[in-house]
Symmetry: C2
Subunit: 244 residues, 2 copies
DNA sequence: CAGTGGTCTAGACCACTTT
DNA sequence: AAGTGGTCTAGACCACTGA
């Protein structure tokens, strides 16, 4: 293992241990003690503990006080943890797909009252509306609609801009950094137009994210609605007793 | 603030800061520096940082390097974070309800092939099946079905046992500690029987958890399926760029 | 009782923001 | 330049497990 510059020590140790776990380098699923790892890797025990805490939170390992640290076989099967979804292209790649993006629509609309409230702008404010479809090998998988206040994205955008991931689009076109989404999980029966676009029958049950994206200072940047093909993309979550 | 025994220092500091944030004790949303908090509370800066990291992860605050730590007004509105749902009664209480539990069924069935695989038992193994309904003021809100291998819950249980939260039931009746669930989020159109129980029309879209509960050593203890009234219970999630 | 993970400390240095 | 959060260290003590 090489200790270099750039990513933090903790990140390097995390990645290193994750790789060893995935490779099955630890016999019988037992991971060496924190003290041993620290001296092996030439870092402090604190750094090792931070790395292990991340892996525990991801579900890759579990720890038993007084006993040891162990690989969690089930945890390795999780391909995408719901809280860590960032871009849909990356999400699809994590599922082993090689996604394509199609920009369906790029237009301006007036903000409805609820939209305006969520985006903290006045009702009627012009919004840039961007509809996109993510496909795997001609199979549509995700349909998204994004709404940006013109105060955030002032000028027009072309299809090439719109095809980029939202966070990249916002950073390049508006100089704003997307930090997190607050997402409502809503079960829907797909309307005919959306069902058509996703290539399923009208009325098919689907999961939907209805969400607002914020920057690091908790200012709303974008309002989004996304619809997923449940048969092609299944979300998995780890629920815990104590938040770790 | 009193520093006592029992909950860890970090937990005490977390609770204390959370209370002050909720009370609006910090002017203009600015939280004192880590150094200042540490000396005020008589703990190390590390402890303060651990507490602030938890609050940041919960969405209650955000931090800007070089600038400071601030209250996140949106974060305070989140009543239940998906990853932290543990018992449904507690979930409903968090939503301001005063829930009632009705045990619908308590029976033994043979494990189907997929059930057996998820529970890591042989197909045909007898399972204790427990169906429950959670209500708020006569309105059904959550319908759950739990399946326990007889190897976990060997003896019979009565309705009073079954009415308890699952983790409590397992601890008391089987001496096993539930540590986490791996949950699939599945959108469904409610079948007639389940729709009836939930008091909605057949075919109503609903969110479903299909999940396996494990102990700390990643051994499966229970297989569960839950259905929610979307109009009464909405799940909210915080999605982040970097897992914190 | 030796070894493990869990908690906490005091202090160093860095990167970044603000004045 | 001063102040803030971000990273990392070395070491102490505790709680728990298992031989």
């Amino acid at each position: 293992m090489v200790i270099g510059r750039g990513p933090s020590l903790t990140e390097q140790v995390t990645a290193h241990l994750k790789a060893r776990i995935t490779d099955g380098a630890f016999e019988e699923g037992r991971i060496p003690s924190e003290t041993e790892l620290a001296s092996d890797l030439g870092v402090s025990r604190t750094t090792v503990r931070d790395a292990l805490s991340r892996l525990e939170h991801e579900g890759a390992i579990y720890r038993r006080q007084g006993s040891g640290t162990f690989v969690n076989p089930q945890g390795l099967q999780i391909r995408s943890r719901l809280e860590e979804i960032w871009g849909y292209e990356q999400l699809l790649r994590d599922h082993g797909y090689t996604p394509a993006v199609r920009v369906l629509s790029l237009r301006t609309e007036s903000a409805s009252a609820p939209d305006a409230e969520a985006l903290e702008v006045a009702a009627g404010t012009p919004l840039l509306v961007m509809d996109k479809l993510f496909l795997e090998d001609d199979d549509p998988v995700v349909l998204t609609s994004n709404r940006f206040p013109r105060a955030v994205v002032g000028h027009d955008a072309d299809e090439a801009d719109a095809a980029r991931p939202i966070y990249e689009f916002l950073e390049r076109q508006a100089g704003r950094k997307l930090a997190y989404y607050l997402s409502d999980l809503v079960p829907v029966a797909l309307q005919a137009d959306r069902a058509d676009l996703l290539g399923v029958a009208a009325g098919t049950p689907a999961l939907s994210f209805e969400e607002v994206g914020y920057d690091a200072e908790a200012r709303p940047l974008v309002l989004a609605a996304s619809y997923f093909r449940d048969d092609l993309l299944r979300f998995r979550l780890m629920r815990r007793r104590t938040p770790a």
